[in-house]
Amino acid sequence: MIRKALGRALWGALCVPLAAAADAAYISQPTELRDAPAADGHVLQSLAAAAAVDIRRRQGGWYQVQVNQQTGWVRMSSLRLRAPGERAGLLDGGRALATQTVATTGVRGLSGEDLQKANPDLVAVAALDAGGVSAADARDFAAQGGLQARGPGTPPPAPPEAGQEQGQ
């Protein structure tokens, strides 16, 4: 019981549920829907490019999605949060964006022109220099979040357990 509750709390810390309502996404290249967030997960069905899916959550490089009444996992790199070709094509067409008018409503932006006009503010830098946090503070903060430093030489841990779906 306690273990299950703990598992649930841990799951919440490890996994990103997206918006409350499922987010629409699209398959960007042919891929497989798998029963676990791992390359050796059992294949539930093949997904064609441009197939629409609903995102449930993300775990590492995998999204849990629902498609055709089936829930499973697809690799992040095979999924886009926009429909194919939906985004305005100026950038994709390779034309310069530099001529675009900045249309951010009512709020000051930070454009290339703003940078060109900027007067170096050395006083603001001095204020920044005077602040900052200590290394000890950063380490305490990391520990509070359950973050463990993994040095470059640290051997990788066991791969994630397949089918960690309890409590959902």
């Binding site: 919440g12 810390a13 490890l14 990103v16 549920p17 993300r58 775990q59 590492g60 490089g61 690799r75 992040m76 790199s77 886009r80 949060l81 926009r82 985004r87 305005a88 100026l90 950038l91 994709d92 964006l97 530099a98 900045v102 951010t104 709020v107 000051r108 932006g109 930070l110 454009s111 290339g112 703003d114 940078l115 006009k117 900027a118 007067n119 170096p120 503010d121 050395l122 830098v125 920044l128 220099d129 602040g131 900052g132 946090v133 290394a135 503070d137 950063a138 903060f141 990391a142 979040g145 359950g146 973050l147 463990q148 430093a149 993994r150 040095g151 990788p156 066991a158 791969p159 994630p160």
Partner: protein, 287 residues
């Protein structure tokens, strides 16, 4: 020995040899990358780096003020310093701030100043995403991308004059002549409007995700942010400067995806969604 057993033994030996070869390749690659970083870090002139970084930070702060919320700056500084402590330059005087602008961007300057805009913070879902973005910026500092670009562009004489003047100012003997400061700031403005080489951006992505992973975060935070940016209208004015200076998110995602085996080796690590929401609320009118 039966034939089946002999075949199995040969197969096992072949597999072991292949695994050993793959490991050696990985090791050689890792050592090569480490050497590269070592030579980058042990460059001679940290003082010049710091002074140039101060002018670059001053220029960015002249274009956008930091958010007034001290608790947000402290939160971002804790995440940033924790990630920077996992880097090859933990001893730098790292400083982090949130710029009060709706534009979506992040910046690093030589010497360890790192900025993220309120606009970009508002597109993130978790501390792992913040750690990934800060990791990318920290990587620019560790690999000295802006420093090298400024040295290439500004010319030796200007930098020698500038560093000499900056030192004289510190010892109270003189101040930096306005024309020297303005010339250096001009180089900074050009560089930060035009951007670094694409290769530098991809290198910062690769090291950035590794730094976030070494700090114990889900390594896919930066890719998650890039996916969000990829889903936005590319003509959104808030993205103009970012897109003038960086490769397209889709191209960056494809590059990072080549590291999938390395990243998946870290297993499932925390994303800290709730702590992020609490930590940055002050930048968006929350408490």
């Amino acid at each position: 020995m039966s034939r089946a057993v002999a075949v199995a033994a040969m197969l096992a030996a072949a597999l072991a040899a292949a695994a050993a070869q793959a490991f050696t390749l990985d090791l050689n690659k890792a050592i090569g990358e480490l050497k590269e970083i070592k030579t980058v870090v042990s460059g001679p002139d940290e003082r010049e780096e710091h002074e140039l970084g101060r002018v670059a930070a001053a220029t960015l702060l002249g274009a956008a003020r930091p958010v007034a919320a001290q608790d947000v700056e402290t939160y971002v500084s804790r995440v940033g310093l924790w990630v920077a402590l996992q880097s090859e330059r933990p001893e730098l005087p790292w400083r982090f701030a949130v710029l009060d602008t709706a534009s979506i961007n992040a910046f690093a300057t030589p010497g360890g100043y790192v900025f993220v805009t309120r606009g970009l913070l508002g597109k993130m879902h978790s501390e792992a995403e913040l750690a990934g973005v800060l990791g990318h910026e920290i990587a620019h500092v560790v690999l000295k991308h802006h420093l090298h670009a400024l040295r290439r562009e500004a010319g030796t004489q200007l930098l020698a004059d500038f560093t000499g003047d900056a030192l004289a100012q510190q010892s109270g003997k003189a101040s930096i002549p306005p024309q020297v400061l303005s010339a250096v700031a001009g180089q900074v403005k050009t560089l930060y409007s035009r951007g670094l080489d694409k290769a530098d951006e991809y290198a910062a992505d690769r090291l950035g995700v590794m730094l976030a992973a070494r700090a114990g975060y889900d390594p896919y935070g930066l890719p998650a942010v890039l996916e969000t940016l990829d889903s936005m209208d590319a003509n959104d004015g808030a993205l103009t400067l970012l897109y003038q200076t960086h490769p397209r998110p889709a191209d960056r995602l494809a590059q990072i995806d080549q590291m999938r085996d390395q990243l998946d080796g870290f297993g499932v690590q925390p994303v800290l969604q709730d702590r992020f929401a609490r930590g940055v609320a002050g930048a968006f009118g929350g408490k």
